[in-house]
C-alpha cells in the first residue's frame, strides 16, 4: 500500500489560510490503513486546524468528508457536491488522489495535506517500512523475494557490501542488512546458486526517468 504521513499543523494552516470554506477530504483506502488520511484523521486534523485558525483569528470553516478512494473518478463523484460548496479542498489522500481531484475539479484549488512517502507494509503496530520503489522492472524473483533496491541502502545488485555488521546495515544500524536477508532466504528455498550469476547493471529506463509513466491495455480500452 501507499504510505504517507500528515504535514504539521502550522504548515497546513499556511497552505489554506487564505480560504474561508475548506473541504477536508479523506481517502478510505491506503492512507486509512497507514493512519494518515482516513475518517478518523480527517476528524482530528479538522479539529486541529479549526483551533489553530481560531487562535490566529482566521475565519476558516471546515467541512469533513471521507470517500472510498480519491484516485478513481467514479468515487470522486461522491465528493462533487461538497467540493462545489467549498472554496478549496485539502486532500488527505496520496499524491495520486490529490492530482485526480485537481484534474476532475479544475476550477477548485486542491492542496495536499499529506506527504506521500513510499510503497510499503505494516511491519508491526505503528511501524511502516518501504518495500517497493516501483522501479518498473521487478527483480524480486532473483533475490528470494527481498528487494535490494528498496531494502539495501546502497541498492547493491551484486551484494553484499563489506559494511554489514552482525546482520545490521552500516548506513542504518536499526535496519537489517538486506543482503543478509537475501542470503538466508535463498538458502532456505534452496536457490543459493542464483548468487553465482553476476547481474548486469539494472535497466532504469522503465523507472522514474522521462516523465509520467503510463500503461496502456488495448484489450480493456473502449
Amino acid at each position: 500500500m501507499i504510505v504517507a504521513q500528515r504535514k504539521n499543523i502550522p504548515d497546513l494552516l499556511a497552505i489554506v489560510e487564505k480560504h474561508r470554506k475548506l473541504l477536508l477530504l479523506g481517502c478510505g483506502t491506503c492512507v486509512t490503513v497507514c493512519l494518515a488520511g482516513g475518517q478518523r484523521e480527517v476528524s482530528i486534523i479538522a479539529s486541529a486546524l479549526r483551533m489553530a485558525a481560531r487562535l490566529k483569528g482566521l475565519p476558516l470553516e471546515i467541512e469533513e468528508l471521507t470517500i472510498e478512494r480519491q484516485c478513481d473518478n467514479v468515487f470522486l463523484e461522491q465528493a462533487a457536491e461538497a467540493i462545489k460548496k467549498s472554496d478549496a479542498v485539502l486532500s488527505l489522500g496520496c499524491g495520486a488522489g490529490v492530482q485526480a481531484l485537481a484534474e476532475r475539479f479544475t476550477s477548485k484549488p486542491v492542496y495536499a495535506g499529506l506527504n506521500t512517502a513510499f510503497i510499503g507494509i505494516l511491519e508491526e503496530r505503528g511501524v511502516w517500512a518501504e518495500k517497493c520503489a516501483a522501479c518498473g522492472e521487478c527483480v524480486l524473483h532473483l533475490y528470494g523475494g527481498i528487494c535490494p533496491i528498496t531494502r539495501c541502502a546502497k541498492k547493491m545488485m551484486n551484494g553484499p557490501c563489506s559494511g554489514s555488521r552482525e546482520d545490521r546495515c552500516e548506513v542504518n544500524p536499526d535496519r537489517p542488512c538486506a543482503w543478509q536477508l537475501i542470503y538466508r532466504r535463498l538458502k532456505e528455498i534452496g536457490q543459493l546458486d542464483r548468487l553465482n550469476q553476476i547481474k548486469p547493471p539494472k535497466n532504469w529506463r522503465p523507472s522514474q526517468s522521462g516523465g509520467c509513466r503510463t500503461i496502456i491495455r488495448e484489450d480493456h480500452r473502449v
Partner: protein, 148 residues
Amino acid sequence: MKPEVFQPRIVAFCCHYCAYSSADLAGVMRIQYPPNVRIIRTPCTGRLETEYFMKAFEHGADGVLVAGCLEGGCHFVEGNLCAKRRVNYTRDMLEEIGLEKERLRMVNISAAMARPFADTIIDMVETVRKLGPNPIKQNGTMKQESCS
C-alpha cells in the same frame, strides 16, 4: 470589589475500573476537591482516541485529564499504556496548534487512591487556572455544543 477567580472547566476521562471508583470512594470518604471537573466514565482509557481530546478542547474545555489504572494494573492488560501514547501524541499536536500541552494530562490511579485522586484534581485545576481560559473560546465563534 474582589476580582473574580477564573474557574476552569476540566473534562476528566476516568476509567471505570480505577479512577472512577477512586472518585466514588473520595465521595464516600467526604474528601473535598474543586467542582471544576466534569467526569466522564470510560470502560478503559484505552478506549479513548486522539479525537476525543481534540474535540474537548475544540468545544471549549480548559483542560483534559485522563485517569487510568496503575501501569501493569489495567483490567484489559495494556489499555492504559495505549492511552499514554495517545495522550503524548495529542500533547505534541496541541503544541503545534499553539495551545499549552499542560492542559492535557494523564495520571495513573488505583480504585483505592481516593486522596491522590482529589490531590490530582486540585493540582490540575491550579495548573489550568495559571494557564488561563482556553484561548479558543476567546477567539471567534464556538461550536453550539460547547454552550452550557
